[in-house]
């Protein structure tokens, strides 16, 4: 059994929940992962400062699309402040696996557009590694291979 492409992920990829459009959304945002071209947009209906309903749309790899589907129901009922606090740990918990550095942004793109819609930010969610590579990893590449 492949730990990444488990039935759970593939089911959400093939049958995404809360995908489509919302009439008259209160907030919306879309973005793409420039490296690989994954596209993701979100529309949100608010009740006060709580998410009442959410719809994603986009195209991309199984990880980006399935993650959006998986978190969609979880997001309903959360406040803007609660969404602001979500990061890499939330995604790992929701999809049940820690993503490798090459796929992390696939998994974080849906949360990024939600935070973009609600907070007006264009930043990646907290926990996204910055561009500065880990010194120990670099040392390994320089000495051990």
């Amino acid at each position: 059994m492949d730990p990444l492409y488990r039935e759970y992920i593939l089911d959400h990829y093939k049958n995404p929940r809360n995908f489509g459009e919302l009439p008259e959304p209160d907030a919306e945002f879309e973005d793409r992962n420039p490296l690989c071209g994954d596209e993701m947009g979100v529309q949100i209906k608010l009740d006060g400062d709580r998410i009442e309903d959410v719809r994603f749309h986009g195209q991309g790899c199984a990880i980006s699309q399935a993650t959006a589907s998986i978190i969609s129901d979880e997001l309903k009922g959360k406040t803007v402040a609660e969404v602001a606090a979500l990061g890499r740990g939330f995604i790992a918990e929701e999809i049940g696996i820690e993503l490798s550095p090459t796929r992390l942004k696939c998994g974080l793109l849906s949360l990024k557009v939600v935070q973009g819609a609600l907070l007006g930010t264009d930043e990646w969610p907290s926990g996204t590694p910055d561009e500065d590579p880990d010194a120990a990893e670099v040392a390994k590449l320089r000495n051990e291979i």
């Binding site: 492949d2 990444l4 492409y5 593939l10 093939k14 490296l35 690989c36 071209g37 994954d38 596209e39 195209q59 991309g60 790899c61 199984a62 990880i63 090459t102 796929r103 696939c106 291979i145």
Partner: protein, 414 residues
């Protein structure tokens, strides 16, 4: 299906010259099918770079001592070797960082003096971003217009569209010799002739062509020909612009600085003769030494032999991949009409997921838009997967690819 017996099986000994091919990925020998992105490097290239730093390191052009003379000799030998490979005079080869910089050099020199309001720059629907974005910027700066020659359903240039557009005041036709996505080998000599007849200059992006085809830059009919070291078994950080001598003479300088001047007065300067006129600052000396070794490696095999091996491999890959259910292959279906790569999509599986699953089998392929978004739009896909071949690849590696793709189909249940 068994791997096709290959007439060029002798080339399998070539693999031993590439240290990196001994690596294992995910516990399996690497099947490196991403040479269109960058080729691997033979021991001789790695050794030439290392030897330069160990034995001959000095700056070029500006010293009388022994090491400086050796550095100069290695640097200029790189130029003469690469010139010989493509049928050029060494004085017509300008060293830059990569093919992108070679194209931008033309944009900032020739195009600045020749493009004006209302002019047209014609490119094709199959260009890499490196031959799209510079011309978008050049057109914006000059008030000129950018147009595309369209392609047919099998990814070949539409020559009647070319003729129609050439009639409209085209100053420059910029096209790729070999498409990095479709594999299409463009009929560059014929296209250049038509463009010149219409009064347009011709720039050819040869980044994919020089590593795999016998190329004679004069025979292409081009005025400018851009290519790069790292795709032709050489190092990163060194690329080449070939241009006809008369053009290099009349073009203004690109970057200003040391080495590109004849004399510097307080308020103005005069320029060195080409190619030095376009090579400001300390150049990529170690890379030029490595490039010479790369050319020796290629000519040692022979470009005809190299091409025959890769064409055979491509034919086999086309046959195997296109026979898979749910698979769409892009570009010409005849290996003789294409370079050594196959782009494809698999129904129900995104290319990134394909590439990830292939990696688990030690098979390195590329997935994405391949820096060709205008082409992706015309193909109607967000991305493709691409397997591309070098002289070191084997039919067995193609079999490993198709096995991995079948494995991906099982995982995704498609």
């Amino acid at each position: 299906m068994q791997a096709a017996a290959t007439a060029s099986a002798g080339l399998e000994s070539v693999r031993a010259e590439f240290p990196i091919l001994a690596r294992e990925i995910e516990g399996q020998p690497i099947a490196y099918l991403d040479s269109a992105a960058t080729s691997q490097k033979p021991e001789s290239v790695i050794e030439a770079i290392s030897s330069y730093y160990r034995n001959s390191n000095a700056n070029v052009h500006r010293s009388m001592h022994q090491l400086a003379a050796e550095a100069e000799e290695l640097y200029e030998h790189g130029r003469s070797r690469v010139a010989a490979l493509v049928g050029a005079d060494p004085g017509e080869i300008v060293f830059v960082r990569n093919a992108t910089e070679a194209i931008n050099l033309v944009r900032f020199t020739w195009a600045r003096e020749h493009l004006g309001p209302g002019d047209v720059v014609l490119i094709t629907a199959m260009e890499h971003h490196s031959n799209v974005v510079p011309w978008q910027l050049a057109c914006e700066a000059a008030g000129a217009r950018l147009e595309y020659v369209e392609i047919d359903a099998r990814g070949r240039l539409d020559l009647s569209d070319l003729d129609a557009r050439l009639a409209g005041g085209v100053k420059l036709l910029a096209l790729t010799h070999v498409s990095n996505v479709l594999g299409t080998i463009n009929p560059v000599a014929e296209v250049s002739e038509r463009a010149h007849a219409a009064g347009a200059a011709v720039l050819i992006d040869g980044a994919q062509a020089v590593p795999q085809l016998p190329v004679d830059v004069r025979a292409t009919g081009a005025d400018f020909y851009a290519f790069t070291g790292h795709k032709m078994y050489g190092p990163t950080g060194i690329g080449m612009l070939w241009a006809r001598r008369a053009l290099l003479e009349e073009m203004p300088p690109f970057l200003g600085g040391g080495s590109m001047i004849k004399a510097v007065a307080d308020d103005h300067s005069t320029w060195a003769a080409p190619p030095a006129k376009f090579e400001a600052g300390t150049p990529a000396i170690a890379e030029a030494a490595g490039l010479a070794a790369a050319v020796d490696f290629m000519t040692g095999i022979g470009m005809e032999t190299l091409r025959a091996h890769e064409q055979e491999l491509t034919a086999y890959a086309l046959e195997r991949i296109s026979a898979m259910p749910g698979v769409t292959v892009y570009g010409p279906m005849v290996a003789a009409e294409r370079g050594a790569l196959v782009s494809f999509t698999v129904e129900g599986i995104h290319p990134h997921d394909l590439a990830e699953i292939c990696n688990r089998a030690g098979v390195a392929i590329r997935a994405g838009h391949h820096c060709a978004q205008p082409l992706m739009r015309r193909l109607g896909v967000p991305a493709t997967a691409r397997a591309s071949f070098g002289v070191y690849n084997t039919p067995t590696e193609v079999d490993r690819l198709t096995d991995a793709l079948e494995g991906a189909q099982r995982v995704f249940g498609v």
